[in-house]
């Protein structure tokens, strides 16, 4: 066989390939370094970096579902932000019911309350995702124009229904006792809740990577992103797969909503559409459909937002737009463009 002659070519290709895939990984530490040089103070830098990573993790949780849904079914859901908002409201409602638990001095009872709130909001947003996919999204497969319009319409309806149910005013809720206050590392101050957000985000990212790389469902999702027709020809129902991913993505948005709400300690009916701006920037930076790119993009946006908010407060959001433009100049399809068959 001729494979002996072909092998060196493959190794060369894979070297170039690996360089191409690893280059974006260096961006996060590079940005952290630039941030350090610009800020100058080590304790401030540590505080801001943890804050940035925490924010990035929360955005990642919200954005991952969106990017996967796009990759798998070529559907862009402009109503994704509605799940963030609903998740936050359901979570806050549960936490308000459990007010006795959240003010309890025991960390365990505090965390149980948060856990129950998260569970409830993920269940509700997951089911809502089911309804949304079946009624709003399914009739408009294949037409981006209609998808954008219809999911935007869905977002308006959802936002208004939230106001009907929970009222038009912002809701305030303090974090449970155990999640208030800060740790002090040397001279650096790190909020407990931010650290928790980083840990939860990391666990979720690792779990997601495991599922996508090591399980059959994950392989099917990745295969479906590239060539859904072939996945069907092998005998798998991609519609069900898609519905599952859509529901998971919605539930993750709900989780992100609860976490974001606890981070801000205030929620409004418009929070979802406000966060969606950052989510879109992250998804574009990462490359539509790429989970790994989405993670890096989220970290970059989180860090940059916090550094910029410290250095030039009025330009925090604008700085992320500049980042997006810079990435698009380097890679017009985002950091990790997703290969599509045909």
């Amino acid at each position: 066989m001729s494979d002996a002659a072909i092998r060196p070519k493959i190794e060369r290709a894979s070297l170039a390939e690996s360089l191409k895939t690893r280059a974006p990984l260096a961006l996060v530490p590079a940005l952290a370094l630039v941030g350090f040089l610009a800020i100058g103070s080590f304790p401030t830098w540590v505080t801001l970096t943890v804050a940035g990573l925490a924010m990035g993790m929360m955005i990642f949780i919200m954005a991952s579902g969106l990017t996967l849904v796009f990759g798998l079914m070529d559907v862009i859901n402009f109503g994704h932000g509605a799940f963030v908002t609903v998740g936050a409201f359901v979570g806050f409602t549960v936490l308000a019911w459990l007010a006795g638990w959240t003010s309890d001095p025991s960390i365990l009872i505090n965390l149980t309350a948060v856990f129950l709130a998260i569970l409830a909001s993920m269940a509700v947003t997951g089911l809502l995702g089911y309804a949304f996919e079946r009624t709003i999204v399914m009739p408009v497969y294949g037409s981006h124009l209609k998808q954008i319009l219809v999911t935007m319409g869905g977002l308006i309806i959802a936002q208004q229904l939230i106001i009907v149910i929970w009222g038009p005013d912002a809701i305030h809720l303090s974090r449970p006792e155990a999640l208030q206050g800060s740790f002090i590392f040397g001279t650096a101050l790190v909020e407990k809740y931010r650290l928790l957000a980083v840990v939860v985000g990391l666990i979720l990212f690792l779990a997601m990577s495991y599922v996508l790389n090591r399980t059959k469902i994950g392989l099917l999702v990745r295969a479906g992103v590239e060539n859904g027709e072939m996945v069907e020809a092998l005998g798998y129902r991609i519609g069900r797969l898609f519905l599952g991913v859509f529901m998971t993505g919605s539930a993750l948005a709900g989780l992100g909503g609860v976490m974001w709400g606890l981070y801000q300690e205030t929620i409004t009916a418009h929070m979802g559409s406000e966060i969606m701006v950052l989510v879109f920037i992250v998804v574009i930076i990462g490359g539509l459909g790429s989970v790994g790119g989405c993670f890096i993009g989220a970290m970059l946006v989180g860090l940059l937002s916090n550094y910029a908010a410290f250095l030039m407060p009025k330009f925090a959001l604008v700085s992320t737009i500049v980042l997006m433009v810079a990435v698009l100049m380097w890679r017009p399809q985002g950091l990790y463009p997703v290969v599509k068959a045909k």
Partner: protein, 241 residues
């Protein structure tokens, strides 16, 4: 001949406003290789895709093993034991060779002795087992695509132009694989432009033109009759010899 494994009866297929298949009728007998020949654009790929349910026939019937599968969805058709090797090969380039095979083994785990048999047919697959399939050469991708279709015993394998653009050495191993597959009691419906390969592996043949079947019969008969070849397919096939 007993009941055919696959039978198309007056199948019409529209793609958007185009009327591609205009009443296709032919049969694929159980066992052996049926060749589907014809010029580019005659409707061969559309025929395979219609059988697979990737396009749906607007009228007519596709019967597999006596059962009407015209309206079934693609996954249901695949689960009846029909595998498809598309012209584009449909490799998942983001996945490794092994992962591509794992997904193709719908019943569950891969059978080791069958895997050894596949490695014997296509040694490069063993060499690059844990490499991303996207890094394979064109010929190796074709091997993987066929291997995926036969990772488990299938009753019918649809293969669309497997030798297109491949080097002679690789065409040879594809041909050997087809011959080995024939011996396992698998029925093959093969679209092929390479006439010499077609006449070597084919048992029966159907020739298409302009969305219709214009000839059916034994492959050997067609291979022996030059004037019939010329009448059915013009000179285009000669160029591939």
């Amino acid at each position: 001949m007993s009941e055919p494994l696959l039978a198309l009866d007056g199948v019409h297929t529209h793609i958007d406003q185009y009327h591609i298949l205009q009443g296709v009728s032919f049969q694929v007998p159980a066992g052996g290789v049926t060749m589907l020949l014809g010029r580019n654009g005659a409707g061969k790929t559309t025929t395979l895709r219609t059988i697979m349910g990737l396009w749906h026939a607007s009228s007519g019937a596709v019967r597999f093993d006596g059962r009407d599968i015209t309206a079934l969805s693609t996954p249901d058709i695949a689960r009846l034991g029909i595998a498809y090797v598309p012209e584009s090969m449909g490799i998942f380039s983001d996945l490794t060779v092994r992962e591509n095979m794992v997904l193709a083994a719908t019943a569950g785990t891969m059978d080791n002795s069958r895997l050894d048999w596949i490695f014997e047919l296509f040694p490069p697959l063993k060499t690059f087992w844990d490499m991303p399939a996207g890094n394979l050469s064109g010929g190796q991708k074709q091997m993987l695509s066929i291997a995926r279709a036969i990772v488990e015993p299938r009753r019918l394998v649809l293969i669309d132009e497997p030798t297109k653009g491949l080097a002679p050495a690789i065409i040879l191993s594809v041909r050997k694989a087809l011959e080995a597959l024939k011996e396992t009691d698998t029925t093959i419906l093969l679209v092929e432009q390479n006439f010499s390969l077609a006449s070597r592996v084919g048992d029966t043949v159907a020739v298409m033109d302009d969305g219709r079947i214009i000839h059916t019969g034994e492959m050997a008969e067609l291979a022996a009759d030059r004037s019939l070849q010329e009448r059915l397919m013009g000179l285009s096939l000669e160029a591939h010899q």
